[in-house]
């Protein structure tokens, strides 16, 4: 069965670029422009994986969304790949090994995301 991926990102061009790659890799792609809509879509559409932008309205909106997903019993197992911004302007240093304990996401991917890497990470998180 085709897996469904939700992209939560406010940059529509970026969403389209990722959609192209993921659809070509045989995934179904849905999107949401902000965190709140993203949470609603998770409940309604039950995606298999979420690609979550770290910075939307606020510098760390992505983190809050991730925590909300993890703290909701119904969706706490949902794999999350966090898309981090260029450079270090969030003030967070992303280091998976170090941050695993307290960052409720499965993977980090730095923008701009290389298409091959995107597919590879998505497959890995889906256990394919």
């Amino acid at each position: 069965m085709q897996k469904k991926i939700l992209i939560i990102d406010d940059d529509i061009d970026l969403v389209e670029a990722m959609r192209l790659t993921l659809e070509n890799a045989n995934f179904e792609v849905i999107d949401a422009q902000d965190g709140q809509k993203g949470l609603e879509k998770i409940e309604k559409e039950k995606p298999d994986l979420v690609l979550l932008d770290v910075m939307m309205e606020t510098q760390d909106e992505g983190f809050h969304i991730a925590y909300q997903i993890r703290s909701n019993a119904e969706m706490s197992d949902l794999p999350i790949i966090m898309l981090t911004a260029v450079g270090i302007e969030t003030g967070f240093h992303f280091d998976k090994e170090k941050d695993e304990d307290f960052l409720p996401v499965n993977e980090f991917l730095e923008k701009p995301v290389n298409p091959d890497k995107l597919v590879e990470y998505v497959r890995k998180c889906l256990g394919q």
């Binding site: 940059d11 061009d13 192209l20 070509n24 260029v86 450079g87 003030g91 298409p115 091959d116």
Partner: protein, 454 residues
């Protein structure tokens, strides 16, 4: 009494005043012991007849007062600025009274030691502002005139040194007082005029400094703002291009594909610049990252291992000579990594094939020395002063490696300077380059800026 306010004393801050107070205490010890020695010489070498016991008593009391000053300044370490000023004024006035009494017992007008009054006039003209120096000068003149008057009138006895009866010679007293008064006021006038000019200049310099700091801050903010604004569009551009390249590769004609690949590599170059600009403005803004204990040798070895593959592509020989003893520094691991990585990367990128890179660290007392030496293209002499400038890339560097941001060494310099260290470079065109970084083991904390005159 005029109002005290810091602006009236642009040359002074609390720490300078505190050092003035301790200086004044030291001077007083010297003066007391010097005068005591002088009386010993006067008494035993020259057999001068003076009331030594009284002089010694006065010196003793003055020494005691000095001990009290010392205790006060030790106990109340944190005086306010105003309190320090008043404390110093009090010192000077007490000193003047004691000096007058000592002159009285040491021969009055016969003893040129009254010239010592001029020291106090100079001192107060330098330290104080407004009318205080005039008040002090007037007190000096009044004290000395009164002394001569009471001795002249016989209200107080005159202790003669030379038995010349000068103290009752009206003309001599007038002459002495006129010359003394002129000396005191002119000295004061010269000192305060001089200080006035200095204070004006200091205020100007301070203002200009403030403007420069402000301008630099604005520049950094502009950097940061621009980088942020540039970032999202470039990310979108690159993602779109890469998306097309990946998904429509088989539909693209080879020249179209080539152009897209070029576009992709250029936009990734632009992202590198943005990334480094953000890094630089972050270091600039002095944003404190967490300070950790860092083993510098481990960090360097780790970084070298990560870059070994690129070095092997050029068949470079790495001579790594790290100090036997661990080098521990305190700071942000990211910064130290950036620092070394930038230098090491340059040593690889601008090296010749089959070249060499020497990396060494050394403990030198309280300092750490890091040397990175390559056998690369070198830097032209006239380019050396510019290599730490933002965006600067030397002609030969551009020729050797086309793509580069010109920000790496600015980042390095900023990190080194933030840490209170120093970086120097020696280079010969075509032969190689040597970077030396000296860092204090303990980060130098910003101390209060000392300004002003001695």
């Amino acid at each position: 009494m005029h109002k005290f306010s810091i602006e009236h004393f642009p040359f002074l801050n609390l720490s300078i005043l505190l050092s003035r107070v301790s200086w004044s205490i030291t001077l007083r010890w010297l003066a007391v012991s010097g005068y005591f020695l002088a009386t010993i010489v006067a008494k035993y070498a020259f057999n001068l007849q003076l009331p030594y016991n009284k002089i010694w008593l006065l010196l003793g009391i003055l020494a005691l007062i000095n001990v009290i000053y010392l205790l006060i300044s030790k106990i109340f370490k944190k005086f306010s600025f105003l309190a320090e000023i008043v404390f110093l004024q009090f010192h000077i006035i007490i000193d003047l009274i004691f000096l007058t009494a000592i002159i009285h017992y040491s021969g009055g007008v016969e003893n040129p030691v009254y010239l010592f009054f001029v020291f106090h006039v100079i001192l107060s003209s330098i330290i104080f502002h407004g009318r205080t120096p005039i008040v002090i000068a007037t007190i000096v003149v009044l004290l000395f005139s009164s002394l001569l008057y009471v001795e002249y009138k016989g209200i107080l006895p005159h202790y003669s040194i030379f038995f010349s009866n000068l103290h009752s010679n009206e003309l001599f007293i007038y002459l002495t007082l006129v010359v003394f008064t002129i000396t005191v006021y002119v000295t004061m006038y010269i000192c305060i005029s001089f200080m006035y000019i200095y204070r004006e200049v200091k205020v100007q310099i301070d203002q200009q400094n403030q403007q420069l700091i402000e301008a630099d801050k604005q520049k950094s903010q502009f950097f940061r703002f621009t980088s942020h604004e540039l970032k999202s569009p470039v990310v979108a551009i690159q993602s779109s291009i890469d998306g097309v390249l990946k998904n429509f590769s088989d539909q693209l004609d080879s020249r179209a594909k080539d152009l897209l690949q070029r576009a992709s590599s250029r936009s990734s170059q632009m992202l590198d610049i943005i990334r480094e600009l953000l890094e630089l403005s972050k270091i600039r803004s002095g944003a404190q990252t967490s300070v950790k204990k860092i083993n510098l040798n481990h960090l360097i070895q780790e970084t070298i291992d990560q870059h070994r593959i690129i070095a092997e592509e050029k068949n470079l020989k790495l001579n790594i000579n790290l100090s036997q003893k661990d080098i521990i520094v305190y700071g942000s691991a990211e910064s130290f990594k950036d620092l070394f990585q930038n230098l090491f990367n340059n040593a690889i990128r601008y090296n010749k094939n089959n070249g060499q890179i020497n990396v060494s660290t050394e403990n030198i007392g309280d300092y750490v020395k890091l040397v990175v030496k390559d056998t690369g293209i070198g830097i032209a002499e006239k380019a050396i002063p510019k290599i730490f400038d933002e965006f600067f890339r030397s002609e030969n560097a551009k020729k050797e490696v086309k793509i580069g941001t010109g920000l790496g060494l600015s980042i390095v310099k900023q990190i080194v300077e933030n840490y209170g260290g120093k970086i120097t470079v020696q280079s010969e065109l075509g032969k190689g380059t040597l970077f030396t970084v000296v860092l204090p083991k303990q980060k130098v904390l910003d101390t209060e800026q000392e300004g002003g005159i001695a």
